[in-house]
């Protein structure tokens, strides 16, 4: 049984071990003990509410309690862009029309923006390959939304998640090659490394500042704007189920989409409910339920989330093992939400 929980100080080794499996492409989770140690410290101070809400960085780990090892990690940054500017391209529309010539051109336009400054961000999602089965990935990603549903007042109006952008089979980004490359004379990997070093804002200084018509870009670059990397398609779908949408913001390097939502409109806020814990005699090793629900505790300091099967009557009774994972007792209040929307979203 797996539990997602607030990270703790003793998790550094486990976190480092996970980070060493990440590989390139995730800039916030490099296997660097010093950097991870600093992040852990901020995360612990965040859960302990020792630093102001906008500076917090809530890091969660997924723990395989039986085997005593970490299976995954994920995080919520309370507010982006308050230290270094946070840049995106925003896709806008400009219409050029001439009545005299009967020409009406509707042109997509890229604007370099810091519009998302101050938004909360879902980030640093990584699940160890050994655990990539069943609903584990879903639980890991969505557990963060249970946290937000419990503590919405700690976040600004909007939540975002940056998705990795499209790359060709050769690992090249057509968007970078057609745009960023002209202004840097460096290849994508090098630019990406600089990003990992926290230098993204410096790179943004070199990006073209004036609005750009998308039509100026070659076709292959135009086509990948807002398109996720093939490996990221499932992660995108999970977040879209929860109410995040692509609203025209993309990464300045690879044009990967930024998903965003009003926090008040997240499924977790609309549909999750507070219930009292009841116990059941069901066996702990039963097969995973077809329609599992997430159960989350309601205290920040040792915040915990598990996925549990529903009872035939739809209630959320826990067996002994589940209650232990959540560290809760009968009568405690927990927050419950179906892991998957009961009906498909309209969008």
């Amino acid at each position: 049984m797996l539990v997602v929980r607030a990270i703790q100080e003793q998790d550094l080794d486990g976190l480092l071990a996970l980070a060493s499996r990440v590989g390139s492409g995730m800039t916030t989770l490099k296997p660097d003990r010093k950097a991870l140690g600093q992040r852990l410290e901020i995360a612990c101070a965040s859960f302990a509410e020792q630093i102001p809400p906008p500076q917090r960085d809530y890091v969660f780990v997924m723990e395989d309690a039986a085997r005593g090892r970490l299976a995954g990690v994920c995080a919520i940054k309370a507010a982006v862009g308050l230290d270094d500017p946070f840049y995106n391209y925003r896709i806008g529309t400009l219409v050029h029309s001439s009545n005299e010539l009967k020409v009406f051109s509707r042109m997509d336009t890229l604007y370099l923006s810091n519009d998302l400054t101050g938004c909360a961000e879902l980030c640093s999602l990584f699940l160890h390959p050994d655990y990539r089965s069943g609903t584990n990935g879903k639980l890991l990603s969505k557990s963060r939304l249970m946290f937000i549903a419990q503590f919405p007042q700690l976040f600004s109006e909007k939540l975002i998640a940056e998705m990795r952008g499209f790359q060709g089979p050769d690992g090249k980004s057509p968007f970078w090659d057609s745009l960023g490359h002209h202004f840097f004379k460096m290849d994508f990997d090098r630019a990406d490394d600089l990003t990992a070093l926290g230098k993204k804002s410096f790179i943004a200084e070199l990006m073209p500042r004036h609005p750009l018509y998308v039509a100026y870009l070659p076709k292959e670059a135009q086509e990948v704007i807002g398109v996720v990397h093939a490996d990221t398609v499932p992660a995108r779908r999970l977040l879209e189920q929860e109410g995040l949408h692509y609203e025209g913001y993309v990464d300045i390097f690879d044009a990967g989409p930024v998903l965003q939502a009003r926090i008040s409109e997240l499924r977790a806020l609309r549909e999750s409910e507070l219930v009292r814990v009841e116990f059941t005699e069901a066996q702990s090793n039963q097969p995973p339920a077809i329609d599992p629900i997430m159960i989350a505790t309601t205290a920040m300091r040792d915040f915990r989330v598990i996925a549990a099967g529903t009872q035939p009557d739809g209630s959320a009774a826990l067996n002994r093992e589940q209650a232990d994972l959540l560290r809760c007792a009968a009568g405690d209040v927990v927050r419950a939400l179906s892991l998957t929307p009961r009906k498909p979203a309209h969008a």
């Binding site: 001439s98 020409v103 202004f183 840097f184 609005p211 750009l212």
Partner: protein, 349 residues
């Protein structure tokens, strides 16, 4: 012998015949009978006008190959025009080639990026246009006469013109009339072929629809296809001769290019033009006054310096340096319709 003079109403038929030979999208002279009539009418009115400041006047010149033995026989050898202000009643649009500075101190990277900005800077300049020489193959000094005569007129009547002058040179197009610069830029906004657009707006660059359709934000040059970048500032093969003549006169291809085909726009302050700074006003004499003056002897563009009776031709003569006289050959006096005591403007060819 060649003479350049203001166009007259009796020239319309000859101009119509001349226009047939010109290349669409390259030469900017009027083509249809109606357009030619309008142009001639406008020019006649412009020469007759007494503008307080340069306005909508358009001065249209033609060059005749005159037969000295029979002055009644003549033939149009070419045309050239100059507008008092490029915008006339509108705004003249051009791309300014700006340099944008992109810098990252922390990465120790700094780039100058070129960007084209739609601008109206040239609106109040005087604009040379409509240069067309019938026999471009083996053209001699008469090409320079045709092109520069306009500037002699400007030097004689500076109050009719701005302090700055420009001439837009035809840009690169292929045999089919396709412009690589247009393909990369104008087509995306106009949604039509280069020649179709040029036909629609009759070559003008001062039409409102330009600001309706063309981009208001700078176009970053590195984002243009290589072929379009290569065409920026490149002159069409047929424009090489006027380009050279105007460069010799003092024009420089500086930061402006044409918004449609990317051809270079040559520009100069009048003080940089030879017609202005090296022009000598002299009085026509019959007797050489200054014998030790052989350094000054040579081929000159000579223009009758009266605004109302402008004529220009090429003459071998020797304008005096120390006095204010010049002796002109009889045929030149006849061509320019000047006699003793009349003023002429002389500029070394």
């Amino acid at each position: 012998m060649f003479v350049v003079r203001p166009v007259e109403e009796s020239d319309i038929a000859g101009l119509e015949e001349l226009a047939l030979a010109a290349t669409p999208g390259v030469h900017t002279l009027p083509r249809s009978r109606a357009a030619i009539e309008r142009a001639v009418e406008r020019s006649v009115a412009s020469f007759a006008a007494h503008p307080d400041v340069p306005g909508e006047e358009m001065y249209f010149f033609l060059m005749e190959a005159a037969d000295p033995s029979d002055p009644s026989r003549r033939r149009i050898a070419g045309t050239a025009a100059i507008a008092a202000t490029a915008g006339a009643s509108g705004t003249f649009f051009a791309f300014r080639n700006d340099v944008l500075h992109q810098v990252s101190r922390d990465l120790n990277i700094s780039h100058n990026v070129h960007a084209l900005t739609l601008c109206s800077d040239l609106t109040s300049h005087s604009q040379l246009s409509g240069f067309y020489l019938r026999s471009r193959e083996g053209a001699g000094v008469e090409a320079a006469l045709l092109s520069r005569a306009r500037l002699l007129f400007a030097a004689i009547a500076p109050h009719r013109f701005g302090d700055k002058f420009f001439a837009s040179m035809s840009g690169m197009t292929d045999a089919a009339g396709r412009s690589p610069f247009w393909e990369a830029l104008g087509r995306k906004f106009f949604q039509m072929d280069f020649l179709a657009a040029e036909r629609l707006i009759e070559g003008a660059r001062n039409r409102t629809l330009i600001v309706e359709l063309m981009p208001h934000y700078p176009v970053y040059v590195p984002l243009l296809p290589g072929e379009a970048q290569a065409a920026m500032g490149q002159v069409h093969a047929e424009g090489k001769l006027p380009f050279r003549i105007l460069s010799d006169e003092g024009f420089e291809p500086d930061e402006y290019i044409d918004i449609f085909d990317g051809g270079p726009i040559l520009r100069a302050h009048k003080h940089a033009l030879r017609s202005f700074h090296a022009g000598m006003t002299r009085t026509v004499n019959s007797v050489q006054q200054d014998e030790g003056n052989d350094e000054m002897e040579g081929s000159y563009l000579v223009a009758a310096a009266g605004e109302g009776c402008f004529r220009a031709t090429i003459a071998d003569c020797a304008p005096s340096e120390l006095s204010d006289g010049v002796v002109l050959p009889p045929d030149v006096r006849r061509l320019l319709a000047v006699g003793d005591g009349d003023d002429v403007l002389c500029v070394k060819l």
